[in-house]
Structure formats: C-alpha cells, structure tokens
Symmetry: C2
Subunit: 128 residues, 2 copies
Amino acid sequence: MSWMDAVIWNEHELVPAIAQDAASMRVLTLAWMNREALARTVATRQAHYWSRSRAKLWHKGELSGHVQRVLEIRLDCDNDAILLIVEQEGGISCHTGHGRCFFQRLENGAWHDVEPVLKDPKAIYGDG
Amino acid sequence: MSWMDAVIWNEHELVPAIAQDAASMRVLTLAWMNREALARTVATRQAHYWSRSRAKLWHKGELSGHVQRVLEIRLDCDNDAILLIVEQEGGISCHTGHGRCFFQRLENGAWHDVEPVLKDPKAIYGDG
C-alpha cells in the first residue's frame, strides 16, 4: 500500500503518533505505531499502537475500555510523525487515571501534576 | 538539575517534543530535543530543538523568523515525551510554508495536502 510506504519508519520500524481530542483539542498521548498498528487503526477506526514496554500490538482501551475513535489521520511534512484526531471514550486516555498523559507542567524548576486523577487506576484495571 | 534528569532520554539522548498553538490549539510540529535544546528552551522561552538531519542545535525560527514563544512546558506520564504550548510567530511553523507540519490527511488510501501554503518557502528562506 503506497500510503503505508510513504511513512518514514525509524530504525525500530516505528513512527510516533500523537492523539489529540477532537472536542477539547487537548493533546492526549504520544505513542508509537508499527505498520500493523497503523493498518489496524485505519481498518477499525480505533487507535492501535505498538507497546514498546510490552513489545506487542496494543489496541488502546482493550483493558480499560478507553478506546480512541479515530476521526482523522494526519502525517507531517517529512512523513515521520502521525497525528490522530480522536474521540476519547470515557474522557480518560492515561493509565494513571488522569484525563490525559501530559499532566505534568514545569514550574519553578520542577515538574508538577496540574491535572486531577479522574478515576483510580484500580477501578479502571482492577487490583490484579 | 533534577527536572532535567526526570526526563527519560532515548538511546540517542533525545526526547520527542510536540508544539501546540496556544490560540488555535492546533498541533504544529513534532521535533526532537536533547538536553541543551530543552535547557535553552526553558532559559529563553523560545523553542529550541535538536535537528537530526543537520545534527545541530536548532533555534526554531533562527532563519525564518518564525520563532515559537513557549508558554507552557509539559511532560507526559512516563516522562518520555514533551508538549510545548506556544505562540507561533508569523503563523507558520513548517519549512514548506504551510501553517503547520501536519497538513497531510489520509483519505481513500492516499495522503492529501489539505491545508494551504501560506508563504512561498523561497520568500521565507531566500532562493538559497
């Protein structure tokens, strides 16, 4: 597929993918895709990534239910970064229970959590 | 500096940095920072990156005048991605003359340019 080959994959065969909330316009997450993740994202219109920590394909929300419905898929000028415009199920995109992953802000020489935990991760994923 | 050491740098001693426009909320660019780029960004409140293609520190806008004034610096939950909230001088963040780098959208199995070139790159950078 030529649109797939147009993407510049890095030395690990991955590309960074930003997810932005369509309604609030907030940047939710930065994750990574391989070819299979991008193909499944396009086919299902739900965000799929490559989990580097678990070294496996990751259907975002598969455990939490917090899927990302994909409205738009964008590529940058040099073809090595992807932007997804999504609807975030449950309003929570972060495994910490924050609404999004970018909840730390640099202030006075330190990173501060400046957004609330909306749901206890134990309630999202269970205790196990 | 502990806030600098809190960042997880990749095997190339880089971290991806998203720039988002404070006014329009559009995602403008994804670039990369090393420690010096982040330190200069914090010190000057203008975005600095590491240019991987030129292998040098890059003060965004140094040639074009299209600097990014940094209002907020955010870090994600696992400390390996940065989000800058910026004011984009000139309303152009992309070297192609588009307003931002994410101007290609996947439609019907192909990437389409869906945003206009606002200024001819030759007018931005000169004929070279």
